[in-house]
């Protein structure tokens, strides 16, 4: 019986999640990084709640971007090293579906996990409770967009020995709009004004990257395999 694209999607997603949970260290490292970096700021700044609150959105967002980047290097690399990537390409299934499933799995174990600990971090940064919904919404859109962008970077650098720095150089400039709108949305929520505009823009970026980035990443993987 032929395998449908949906079967392939579920198969890849399940396998990626299983692999992540078999390697909890890779799961926990970005989270610990996120918590440590964000808690360094309140320790380093003078004890002024207003100053901390003003810096909080930028600190939160920069730390979230960097923490998501940490695990991006492994997105396709381990598959490329053990020969699985060739088998994926030769499966006769569109690489697009495989890239979508792998990237979504990456987001679930990195971005979504960051969302879970972000209330804790936000409390340390003196972000008021009323701003939490906007913060969580903007962070979820932002980290998901970053995973799609990261898939392109990871696809392009999969053949390189030390691709990690190069991924950051490729992805971070592309992630600047995320930082601007994401931190802007959180900032507005803290100030008590409407953050809808920035959230719409983040959602638009997310839709744009989730439809186009898998094509780019799949093409990059095919080129690097040659």
């Amino acid at each position: 019986m032929p395998v449908s694209a949906w079967d392939v999607f579920l198969l890849v997603l399940r396998r990626e999640l299983t692999l992540s949970f078999r390697r909890p260290d890779q799961l926990v490292q970005p989270l610990v990084f996120f918590v440590i970096v964000t808690t360094l700021f309140p320790l380093g700044l003078s004890v002024q709640l207003s100053l901390l609150r003003e810096m909080a959105p930028a600190v939160l967002w920069v730390a979230a971007l960097l923490a998501s980047l940490l695990s991006l290097d492994a997105l396709f690399k381990s598959d490329a090293e053990d020969g699985t990537l060739e088998q994926l390409v030769l499966s006769g299934q569109g690489l697009y579906v495989i890239v979508v499933a792998k990237t979504l799995a990456h987001w679930l174990v990195s971005g979504a996990a960051l969302l879970l600990v972000s209330p804790l971090v936000a409390t340390a940064l003196a972000i008021p409770l009323a701003a939490f919904p906007t913060m969580l919404l903007s962070l979820s859109l932002g980290t998901l967009t970053l995973s799609w962008l990261g898939a392109i970077g990871a696809g392009l650098t999969v053949g390189l020995k030390r691709g990690n720095v190069l991924i950051s150089l490729i992805v971070l400039p592309l992630a600047m709009p995320l930082l601007i709108f994401g931190a802007g949305a959180t900032d507005r929520a803290i100030a008590g004004t409407s953050a809808l505009g920035a959230c719409y823009l983040l959602a638009a970026l997310c839709v744009l990257t989730c439809t186009l980035a898998p094509f780019a990443a799949a093409a990059a993987l095919e080129v690097t395999l040659e």
Binding site: D7, L19, R22, D82, G83, E86, Q87, L90, S91, G92
Partner: protein
Amino acid sequence: MHVWRGDRHVLKGVSFELGSGELLHVTGPNGSGKTTLLRVLTGLLRPEQGRIAWHGEEIAAAPSDYQRALAYASHEPALKSDLSALENLRFLVGLKRRLSTAELTAALQRTGVAHCADLPVRVLSAGQRRRVAMARVLAVQAKLWLLDEPYTNLDVAGTELLSSLLQSHVAAGGMALVVAHHELNVEMARRRLDLA
């Protein structure tokens, strides 16, 4: 076909045809382009000159159909060390066709590693991994086998087993292209392509 890797002319005008029930043994010294030839045949690498056709149709025209009809076993066994042998197979074979756990276990049994089905691949020996990779090729039920040095790390019994599997695949109308340094120990007609 002709293939260049950078400035190096690796495949200098290789040409052959393979039909149902045929076995082609590719030989040649190190660096003569055996693996490159296999990668070109899978479609992973495009030849600069020449064409590869499957059922008379160029493979680039319908890559998915062709890829579903082939099973490629590269140098690397393509197994995840954190997953069990069975989980690895369920994933890799599942991408190509739907099948039951019983079918996968049967494939592992045929290659003599059924007892390792639930062990993480990390604890398997190189030879056992090779056998699991061979079970994948079997379970895919592909018409065309492309095997890159399949005898590496196999013990005497493993070598015999692989030869008998090759023989039954080809006898059943399958096609196989095997890259191997030493002689294939099969009792059947085979063609030879020397890349030297």
